[in-house]
């Protein structure tokens, strides 16, 4: 797939959007025709969460579907469908089979880049149309409260000097979220990321349990996951991975503040099949842009520890290109890129 492929086609399709406009003049919802076309969904929208029920993607899909429906921002209901498997690849390969189908959406986050980079997916992010980025959350590097490591620098120093003596637990497989966030930071701090003993667990919960029991020496997990245990004094956060401090852990310095030039965010967003028309993209982009302004969305985000980080379709596309390059470098340096 050539890099410019999807976008070039998208521009071409935009020319034909007048036809779509005519075809979709059904009942007049409260939707106005401001941004570039009048396409409206004509049947329920299949909203794919490429994971089982209960995970981050599922929560995102169900929360956004609820807010969009409740606030009447979409003309047809969103039906959440779970397509778990292969770190998301099953879900998005299903969506990929429905090119040009404007009634399919899926929720996404860094694995859409990481899984293909590791060679475990038939599609890449370029096989889909970015709709919007919604929010982001940093990773947190944590140790037990009684650990000798007080700063991220302490940990990095130890990892540099004797990597065999430190094990770091994470909630995803090697080459995925937690590992890349760790490897990138360790690399930036001057240690050899490929020597780090990264122990993969099934999810952040198990990783943190093993840290609490003293089985691992440090752990990396989502900021919202570690927050209760930090507040109770069981764990200490060395740093968060975002450029700025996280509102969930306001006391914790960011990596940049501790002198490590690296940033990593778990961003979450929405994508659609390839080759949607401009007006179809605009319809969904606008719906999500409105959604993040809703009170019920803000309330849910706050409780789930999500920080709004909205980006429209174009901006999200550019962002994905940049992220892909960055991840690719980290994975190459750890030797995991296929």
């Amino acid at each position: 797939m050539s890099r410019s492929g999807p976008r070039a086609v998208r521009a071409a399709v935009a020319v034909g959007s007048a036809a779509v406009l005519l075809a979709a003049c059904g009942g007049g919802g409260q939707q106005d025709a401001a941004s570039g076309g009048d396409w409206k969904p004509t049947k329920p929208i299949e909203y794919v969460a490429p994971a089982g029920t209960g995970g981050g993607w599922d929560t995102l899909a169900r929360t956004t579907a609820r807010v969009l429906d409740e606030s009447n921002l979409v003309d047809r209901p969103l039906r959440v469908v779970n397509k778990p498997g292969a770190g998301g690849a099953i879900g998005w390969s299903y969506v990929a089979k429905h090119q040009k189908d404007p009634h399919k959406l899926f929720v996404t986050s860094p694995p859409i880049l990481l899984v293909p980079l590791a060679g475990a997916s038939g599609q890449t992010y370029e096989d889909f149309t970015p709709i919007a980025r919604l929010n982001s959350e940093p990773l947190a590097y944590v140790v037990k409260a009684n650990s000798p490591y007080k700063t991220f620098g302490d940990l990095a120093k130890k990892l540099k000097a004797s990597p065999k003596d430190v094990s770091v637990a994470g909630g995803s497989g090697p080459g995925s979220l937690d590992h890349v966030g760790l490897a990138g930071a360790v690399q930036a701090a001057g240690a050899d990321a490929s020597k780090v003993k990264y122990v993969p667990f099934d999810g952040g919960g198990e990783a943190l349990t093993s840290l609490l029991g003293g089985h691992a020496d440090a752990a990396v997990a989502g900021a919202s996951e570690v927050q209760p245990l930090v507040r109770s004094g069981d764990l200490r956060v060395l740093a968060v991975s975002s450029k700025e401090r996280s509102p969930i852990l306001p006391e914790t310095p960011s990596l940049t503040e501790t002198g490590v030039d690296y940033a990593f965010d778990i961003w979450r967003g929405v994508m659609a099949p390839k080759d949607l028309s401009e007006s179809q993209i605009a319809y969904y982009e606008k719906a999500y842009a409105e959604m993040v302004k809703q009170d019920s969305w803000k309330k849910a985000s706050e409780k789930l520890g999500w920080t709004d980080a909205f980006m429209g379709s174009k901006e999200f596309g550019t962002f994905l290109d940049e992220q892909n390059k960055e991840y690719s470098e980290v994975l190459t340096s750890v030797g995991l890129k296929k």
């Binding site: 089982g52 029920t53 209960g54 995970g55 599922d58 929560t59 169900r62 929360t63 609820r66 469908v81 779970n82 397509k83 778990p84 498997g85 292969a86 770190g87 690849a89 099953i90 390969s93 590791a118 475990a120 038939g122 065999k164 094990s167 497989g173 090697p174 080459g175 995925s176 003993k197 122990v199 993969p200 667990f201 099934d202 999810g203 952040g204 919960g205 198990e206 943190l208 349990t209 093993s210 609490l212 029991g213 003293g214 089985h215 691992a216 919202s224 927050q227 209760p228 245990l229 507040r231 109770s232 004094g233 069981d234 849910a300 409780k303 789930l304 520890g305 995991l336």
Partner: protein
């Protein structure tokens, strides 16, 4: 006592008319969803989450936990009636539940399941109430090495589940572990035995194997029996006599306690608990050889264990804020949206929440029992359906169960494949239970072994220098050797032992644990 006054406060919360209604609704919906094919507690809770979001947090969590244990409770129904375990935790229940149903005692099997579940659930709640805070240290004391030892202990049950031919049992178990290793390796992301199929990347879903080798294989067997041997008589009678009550009290009690402690460990959960408890009782029982042929203890033990484990899994959730199972992960997500942050501070910051939930669980368990006992005769009547009609319906049950989890046609083909495999295994006297055990424990065993060795940098002594792991491995060794010693002892005593020949003699169904005909042979 502090806990007592808290608990009274909790009952105050749980007994408000509104919350009482939500407990009732929760367990009712949970039971119904739990009975549907393939829909376990995870789906049940996810489905109720949108409703819960509109409620106040305490009522919401009371309802959601009701849905949770209600679904576990309901899951045993299809295991017993159709040999089709809807959720992993009830697979062991089908080993004796289904033979009982085929002997015309479906009503009895269901009511034992209900009573054992009730007791398991209640014991679990007592445990949660009394020792939850101190148990969080047990939860975290289990690292990879300890899990590995626990899984090895679990796998030794292959021997006791093998029945007549230990070699065949071991072969089944080995193949089970092989099935468990299919997919993306969680430790290295390397693909294993996927043969280019994306659908296999995430491994073979446990439910597909269980529905295939149990339910679908039974459908094939039903056809070869030409529909003969269907149950007759008072299938809907719930009656237990005094002797039976006495018989199941031990297994139920032990199952409840064992289940709770296993449930407290993240990742182990109801399924492991039910298998451990089943094989423990099979070993302890004097009539252990009738296990798998319709022994009521074989229903009571796993059912009490899986319900108790379900409650036990609330310990890490409530005290650490980390989910111990897929189900509690969903529950955690819901709690967060509701603005409740479980964790070490929950009991001090929101005692209403903790004690309200505990109290509602007592009530919920009572409601479950009252709700379900009268319905049992109705469920049991399913078996009166003419076999020509029942047979396609069981197939639909399996197909919906599998498809509803993965939405993939590929998995339907896998299901059929496992059905054929299960049938061939039966025809050739290969027990299916060790296969399932291998599938459940194999992946966990390998994963924790590799995590432990990664942490120890490849040093194998980590398994014996850690006390818990050493004890568990010693237990595993004992449980492997015990049957050998037992056999020797029995030989020495001659055949003075009473022969247990009542229960399973005329039962053709050999799935699950089969009698070793050699045990008493001189």
């Amino acid at each position: 006592m502090d806990a007592f006054s808290h608990l009274m406060g909790g009952f105050g919360v749980a007994l408000s008319p509104q919350n009482l209604l939500f407990v009732f609704l929760g367990v009712l919906i949970g039971t119904v969803i739990g009975m549907l094919p393939g829909l376990g507690p995870i789906s049940a809770i996810s489905l109720m989450i949108p409703v819960a979001f509109t409620m106040d947090p305490v009522s919401a969590i009371i309802m959601l936990s009701g849905v949770y244990y209600g679904a576990i409770f309901g899951g045993s129904t299809s295991s017993i009636l159709l040999n089709a375990p809807g959720v992993a935790g009830t697979v062991a229940t089908s080993f004796d539940g289904y033979p009982l149903a085929r002997k015309g005692q479906a009503g009895k099997a269901l009511s034992i399941a209900a009573i054992a579940s009730f007791i398991g659930g209640t014991v679990g709640v007592i445990g949660l109430m009394l020792v939850a805070p101190s148990l969080s240290s047990l939860t975290v004391s289990f690292g990879p090495a300890e899990y590995f030892a626990l899984m090895v202990l679990g796998l030794t049950a292959v021997v006791s589940l093998s029945g007549g031919n230990v070699t065949k049992g071991l072969i089944s178990g080995t193949v089970g572990v092989m099935i468990a290793l299919v997919g993306i390796d969680s430790q290295t992301s390397v693909l294993r035995f996927t043969f280019g199929h994306e659908e296999l990347y995430e491994g073979v879903e446990f439910l597909i194997v269980a529905l295939g080798v149990f339910a679908l294989a039974e459908v094939f067997a039903m056809l070869t029996r030409r529909g003969q041997g269907a149950q007759t008589g008072a299938i809907s009678s719930l009656r237990l006599n005094k002797r039976e009550v006495k018989e199941i009290s031990g297994p139920t009690g032990r199952g409840s306690v064992l289940g709770f402690f296993v449930g407290v460990l993240p990742g182990a959960g109801a399924t492991v608990a039910s298998f451990l408890s089943y094989s423990l009782e099979k070993r302890l029982a004097k009539d252990g050889k009738t296990f798998g042929k319709g022994n009521i203890k074989g229903v009571a033990a796993p059912e009490s264990a899986n319900n108790s484990a379900a409650v036990g899994s609330f310990v890490p959730l409530m005290t650490l804020g980390v989910p111990g199972s897929g189900t509690t992960a969903v529950l955690l997500g819901a709690l967060l949206v509701l603005g409740v942050q479980p964790g070490p501070l929950l009991m001090t910051e929101q005692p209403d929440m903790f004690w309200g939930v505990v109290a509602s669980m007592y009530i919920g368990n009572v409601v479950l029992l009252i709700l379900n006992l009268p319905l049992i005769p109705l469920f049991a009547k399913v078996l009166k359906t003419p076999q020509a009609l029942l047979l396609p319906l069981v197939v639909v049950f399996c197909v919906v169960g599998v498809y509803g989890q993965s939405f993939s046609t590929f998995d339907l083909w896998l299901l059929i494949g496992f059905g054929v495999l299960g049938f061939l295994m039966r025809a050739n006297d290969f027990p299916a239970a060790p296969l399932i055990l291998g599938v459940i424990l194999g992946g966990l065993m390998e994963k924790s072994m590799r995590q432990a060795l990664l942490i120890s940098s490849g040093d194998l002594s980590t398994f014996v220098t850690k006390p818990i792991s050493a004890v568990l491995l010693a237990l595993a060794a004992v449980s492997l050797l015990a049957p050998v010693f037992g056999q020797l002892r029995r030989r020495r005593r001659g055949r003075a032992l009473p022969q247990d020949d009542g229960a399973g003699q005329d039962d053709p169904d050999e799935q699950g644990a089969k009698v070793d005909a050699n045990v008493t042979r001189p």
